[in-house]
Symmetry: C2
Subunit: 266 residues, 2 copies
């Protein structure tokens, strides 16, 4: 599974990529493994190249975020069209979704000018073979299309819209397709410098090869504070929980043996 986020605002550091973090966390908890997150500018060649690179790795899912709006610099669907060689076509169902939103906005007196047809149509113009995903929070529908082994999902970049489409259409789909379940534990160890504790981490991963342990020194080496994050995927949730618990318990005992204080993190 890969995530492709599109937007100049991310590449000038105007905002942090909270969309990617939100998706990565949700997908992980649904048993999906995110292997790569890529951010490219609102530039058609960059989007096309990144999509092609991504598809060449044959992930089961690609989620794109951003670039579905009405303005000319929203070019994700054009990028998908070029990367796949599938022409853009006005999609009847997508147009119905967009029109419904426009009627709502007109009825609420929000739109002052007549809705611009080319821009309305742009949001309903999808690569051939794509299906629109109803957007409960905005006008631009999400888009879903199968390309070989990869299911491509395109989500808008406005966080409230992205999250709403994910919850409505993708949560169930991803949980169904995920063959794995995920569990995690956090430990906070104080009083042992990271270099003194890292052999224990290596040993924990040798004893529990199916578990991943990541240590994060907090506030510099001199403070001797380490946050440990212990995670595992397994075929069942029970098994994933059992794996992380076994590694966490071993590390807790080891930290105490070395004279550290340990607490569990929520």
């Amino acid at each position: 599974m890969e995530i492709l986020t599109v937007g100049n605002e991310l590449l000038i550091g105007k905002i942090c990529n909270t969309n990617a973090q939100w998706l990565a966390q949700r997908i992980t908890r649904l048993g999906g493994m995110v292997r790569r997150i890529v951010t490219v500018p609102d530039s058609l060649p960059d989007i096309v190249q990144a999509l092609r690179d991504c598809l060449s790795r044959k992930p089961d899912f690609v989620l794109t975020v951003g670039g579905l709006g009405p303005t000319f610099d929203d070019m994700t669907l054009q990028g998908v069209s070029e990367a796949l060689g599938r022409p853009l076509k006005l999609h009847r169902e997508a147009l119905r979704m967009v029109e419904e939103k426009v009627e709502e906005m007109k009825a609420q007196g929000i739109l002052k000018k007549p809705w611009l047809t080319p821009e309305r149509e742009k949001m309903a113009t999808l690569p051939e073979g794509a299906e629109p995903l109803y957007n409960p929070e905005g006008t631009a529908p999400g888009v879903k299309l199968q390309a070989g082994e990869t299911l491509i999902i395109c989500l808008p970049g406005v966080p409230v819209e992205m999250k709403a489409i994910f919850d409505l259409h993708l949560e169930k789909l991803m949980a169904e397709r995920s063959k794995l379940k995920y569990a995690e534990r956090g430990l906070f160890v104080e009083g042992i410098p990271e270099p003194d504790f890292s052999p224990s981490i290596d040993e924990a991963m040798k004893r529990h090869p199916e578990v991943y342990v990541k240590s994060h020194p907090k506030g510099g080496e001199a403070t001797s504070k380490i946050e440990l994050h212990i995670s595992a995927f397994a075929p069942t949730l029970e098994e994933a929980e059992r794996r992380v618990e076994a590694a966490a318990s071993w590390l807790e005992a080891e930290a105490r043996r070395l004279g550290g204080r340990v607490e569990r993190l929520g």
Copy 2:
């Protein structure tokens, strides 16, 4: 310029990639254009592949973040070594930097156990041809090496260390090498729905082709609140400022003409 961030914690959504945002913002303000941000797991094949992909695009700089620490899952330098075909070698100057830090920690009574030689040496083992960059905030030095047209810079993932190395070694280097300067303006427009205002944005960019205008609808379409971000690179700071100011003034007037309220954003 590309940024490669390494770390499982980013791909499970445990943390937001604030390191990438910080670097992107600093680099942009120094006149550098970040074209891509990639995140891969702590996995050697993923790091090697991402580096090779990146180098094939021949950016002037690649900044990697994370994976320089003492534990076996810190494998960025091994990744650089494999991607470039340059063997890892113990670097005398890097070892001196690491030893100095170890002596400091010993003197402060932080290290309880003897410092582990293989792990100390790991942080001082650099790809052939690399130079260490002194880390004022931690043990692992940053790393700098030229690979063809690309200068590769490797920074640790602990934010305070990454920032300190950037400030000490890279700020001046990037400013010197950047041929461009950057300026930006923010406008907040209220009372015009984004679809009604987007033709004005298109028109602004036609009138000022050297300026990039990005609109961000805030809080959903029904609120009719738009944040506009106007930015430009130019050969001099004065010229970059002149360009964004011209576009911002035009957009301000246009928003007022359409009945909106406008304010400048800090």
